[in-house]
């Protein structure tokens, strides 16, 4: 136990660990604060929109089709329309009943407004846009036929055999999930409108992607640092000459693995509270993520977030955190597997990076008539790349409910086999 604790101390006192952790924390907080400050353009502010939707939810509740909601929302809408009118009069000295004329004029003068005035405009615009969004919320769902889209994709890519059947099966499952969303009331729950608030895209697509990448990077460096520590400092002959010394690798692995798992915990412990302190979700924790309002721009089209099972915002957040930790465990295991084969950390790291790039590209190079692209797409690197669509509608090869169980079983097994041979090689090697 003492040796194990000494190894842990060695990691936590390493300048690179503390330095990188500080840099990553600073970067993540920068991401959160820059999103909150509405840096992208002067015409919209996601933070104001999120907080406004949340406060509307507090007054109206979250069941969009209830008469109570409609009544209460009409009151909120009316007060913001009046506010916009008085603001327009205050800024231009004119009167108007046409909302689009007022908004066009006010947005045209946005550079001359004070921070307080801009915020007033953002709040009014959010509520006014919400009215349109709520009215047209079924556009993406009802116009999408996943079965037909699946067939089109099969035709476009000239797929046949296993892959075509696979896509057909998953498209049918997705279509039945959409039916379920329509019938179980998920589609009538309020959510942060995607094209206005971009909460899902930012939180899961940008912030979590950064967190998973940073954790993986630091986890890999910790693993390589500790596994090759004796070789790096030329003390291997001394350390491994005793019977206890030969068992050092077990302690080193344990300490590095636990530290590796601590990295995402430390990062998330700081970054997520900062995010949720700025973006208030308090009234929408229990609404479904698969809401027709949760539709964001992706490439040239709008794509809805459709999870495979009903999940609330809170459940989805916990599930994402869980998957992030599980992926971190796989990244650390793979790093150990590489580190036991390469004594030179620079070479080991470069090989790890090149392998990860190669593994991401393998699925599209394999014959589509076989199950290979589907199996190889279940890898931790592609999963990281696809962060933001976890457990939800995504690319055809990634869109199936058992994607993550397959990934963890497959890559856990691969890492275990490589580690077994690596450790055996280490035990038999002449040091």
């Amino acid at each position: 136990m003492r040796v194990f604790i000494c190894q842990l101390k060695r990691i936590f006192r390493a300048p690179f660990f503390l330095g990188l952790l500080a840099v990553f924390l600073a970067f993540d907080l920068y991401l959160v604060f820059s999103e909150a400050s509405g840096h992208k353009n002067d015409w919209e502010n996601c933070r104001r929109s999120v907080n406004m939707v949340n406060s509307v939810a507090e007054e109206t509740g979250t069941k969009i089709n209830s008469t109570d909601f409609k009544k209460k929302f009409a009151v909120v809408l009316d007060s913001h329309k009046r506010d916009l009118k008085s603001f327009y009069h205050q800024k231009t000295g004119k009167e108007s009943d046409d909302l689009s004329v007022m908004l066009d004029n006010l947005e045209g003068n946005i550079y001359q407004m004070t921070r307080g005035e801009k915020n007033r405009l953002y709040d009014d615009t959010t509520v006014l846009n919400m009215e349109n969004i709520l009215q047209n919320r079924f556009g993406v769902y009802r116009n999408t036929d996943f079965k037909k889209d699946g067939e089109t994709y099969i035709h476009e890519e000239k797929l046949e055999g296993f892959q075509a059947e696979f896509i057909r099966k998953n498209s049918a499952a997705l279509q039945s999930r959409v039916k379920e969303i329509e019938t179980d009331g998920e589609e009538d729950e309020l959510y942060f409108p995607g094209n206005m608030c971009r909460t899902h895209g930012f939180l899961y697509g940008i912030l979590f992607r950064a967190l998973v990448f940073e954790s993986a990077l630091l986890g890999v460096l910790i693993m390589m640092y500790i596994v090759n520590f004796e070789f790096m400092h030329g003390t291997q002959a001394l350390a491994y000459s005793s019977r206890r010394g030969r068992k050092l690798a077990t302690n080193q692995f344990g300490a590095a693995f636990i530290s590796g798992l601590l990295v995402p915990a430390l990062l998330m412990a700081v970054v997520l509270p900062a995010y949720f302190a700025l973006f208030n979700f308090s009234n929408l924790w229990n609404v479904s993520v698969s809401s027709p309002l949760n539709v964001e721009m992706s490439g040239i089209g709008f794509f809805p977030v459709i999870t495979w099972t009903r999940m609330t915002v809170l459940q989805y957040l916990w599930a994402t955190i869980g998957i992030a930790f599980a992926l971190q465990a796989v990244f650390c295991l793979l790093a150990f597997a590489v580190a036991v084969f390469f004594r030179n950390n620079y070479a080991g790291f470069i090989i790890y990076a090149i392998l990860s790039m190669g593994i991401i590209m393998i699925p599209e190079r394999l014959p589509w008539s076989t199950p290979l692209p589907v199996i190889t797409a279940a890898n931790p690197f592609t999963a990281w790349k696809n962060c933001g669509s976890w457990l939800a509608l995504s690319e055809p090869t990634l869109t199936y409910p058992t994607y993550f169980p397959v990934l963890f079983l497959l890559w856990g097994a691969i890492a275990a086999v490589v580690i077994f041979f690596g450790v055996r090689r280490f035990r038999r090697a002449d040091l």
């Binding site: 990553f24 037909k148 476009e156 460096l221 790039m357 991401i360």
Partner: protein, 400 residues
């Protein structure tokens, strides 16, 4: 000179060359496909490029407003031709008595709910039918392109109103003045927006990342190896050993330059022989005042060719500057993990900086001299640090 060559050999180790080749291959495969291969219905068939090339040959790089309108109209017609052919084959359109994309678009101008619904249904039918045709992807792209071209025609027809809006949409007085000045020109550019934006932006970003990765992979481990081997105290006992750090700075800088030039040469070879060779006729066209409503206005009067060269120079300078930063940092790294821990955030910062710079390079939406200032800072600051290190090396006690 002999020591300089030896140092260069150390940097260009075959293992690192292999690693750089692998990284370059992966980045080309993932992000540069359009630069190397043209699909049967790809970039070279883009109506903007096809029509634009004809017009550049006919009128030269600059035209009057009427000719620019002709360009936009022709582009719209080119995009409409295959779409109309498809429409004529669809039963739903025949029963709705719609024979062309223009007639379908006319439904929108009625401002009637029933017509809007009809338009939406027909649009979906057309899009799905285009997708399932053999040239699916390209035809769907044409549908989007048709709408863009239509708004460009509209833009040129109501030019003065749009200019007012465009002037209002820029943040500073100086920028407003520049936009008004560009928009008031009698002669206008024939450069399509496609070579300037879209794909070429993606290539620029990817090449920038390749340059950065190349420089860092070569220079990163260079001094760490020496720090680990403990030869410094022996080397510094002689006079030439004392001067070796200066040679190492020169070798690292030379290696960075050579490696980047090779990467840029490979890129240019693909650019000038691959599908993007069709951009060449536009190299003499001005980059400001395009017919596209969404196009940027730039602070400087420059041609597409000059802009292309500036982009290359800026990414070269930034990657060089970050190479020097890594060189200076590697002086203090006693092991590879420390080096990698420095390299990762510095590399990411470099990539982010490049992406940010190229996002709106020279645009009036940015402060006027920001790109030049950033480049100067990124090159001169690490160069100064290297010179300070060199001075320190000459004056400090090595064995302490």
């Amino acid at each position: 000179m002999r020591i300089f060559c030896q140092e260069l050999k150390k940097i260009f180790s075959w293992k690192i060359i292999l690693a750089v080749l692998a990284v370059t291959f992966f980045l080309y495969s993932a992000r540069m496909k359009g630069l190397v291969w043209d699909t049967p219905s790809g970039y070279t068939k883009n109506p903007e490029i096809v029509v634009g090339t004809e017009m550049v040959h006919k009128y030269g790089p600059a035209v009057n407003k009427a000719q620019q309108l002709e360009f936009a109209e022709k582009c719209r017609e080119e995009a409409a031709k295959p779409l109309n052919k498809r429409i004529s084959e669809l039963q739903e359109f025949r029963s709705a008595k719609i024979h062309s994309i223009d007639e379908m678009d006319a439904l929108l101008s009625q401002n009637d709910d029933a017509d809007m619904k009809k338009y939406s249904e027909l649009y979906h039918i057309l899009e799905n039918s285009l997708r399932s045709s053999p040239e699916g992807g390209f035809l769907v792209y044409l549908l989007f392109y048709y709408n863009n071209a239509k708004s460009s025609v509209d833009y040129l027809q109501h030019y003065d109103e749009f200019v007012k809006e465009k002037v209002q949409s820029v943040p500073t007085e100086k920028a407003k003045k520049r936009v008004s000045e560009v928009m008031a020109r009698p002669e206008r550019s024939l450069l399509p927006n496609v070579p300037l934006k879209g794909e070429s932006d993606g290539f620029t970003e990817c090449l920038a990342v390749i340059l950065l990765a190349t420089v860092m992979l070569f220079i990163g481990p260079y001094l760490v190896r020496e720090n680990r081997s403990g030869v410094k105290s022996i080397a510094y006992t002689c006079r030439s050993g004392r001067a070796v750090f200066g040679t190492q700075i020169a070798a690292a800088a030379a290696a960075a330059v050579v490696a980047m030039l090779v990467q840029i040469a490979v890129f240019l070879a693909f650019y000038f022989t691959g599908p993007h060779r069709v951009d060449l006729p536009f190299f003499g066209c001005d980059i400001s005042g395009l017919y596209d409503i969404n196009s940027d206005t730039y602070w400087w009067n420059m041609t597409f060719g000059q802009f292309f060269a500036w982009r290359g120079l800026i990414m070269f300078l930034i990657a060089f500057g970050f190479g020097l930063i890594i060189f200076a940092a590697s002086r203090f790294c006693k092991n590879y993990i420390a080096m990698l821990a420095v390299m990762a955030p510095v590399g990411l910062a470099g990539a982010k900086l490049m992406v940010w710079l190229f996002d709106r390079l020279f645009s009036v939406l940015r402060t006027q001299h920001i790109e030049i200032t950033v480049c100067a800072l990124v090159v001169l600051a690490p160069l100064a640090v290297c010179l300070i290190l060199l001075h320190r090396e000459k004056t400090k006690e090595i064995l302490s």
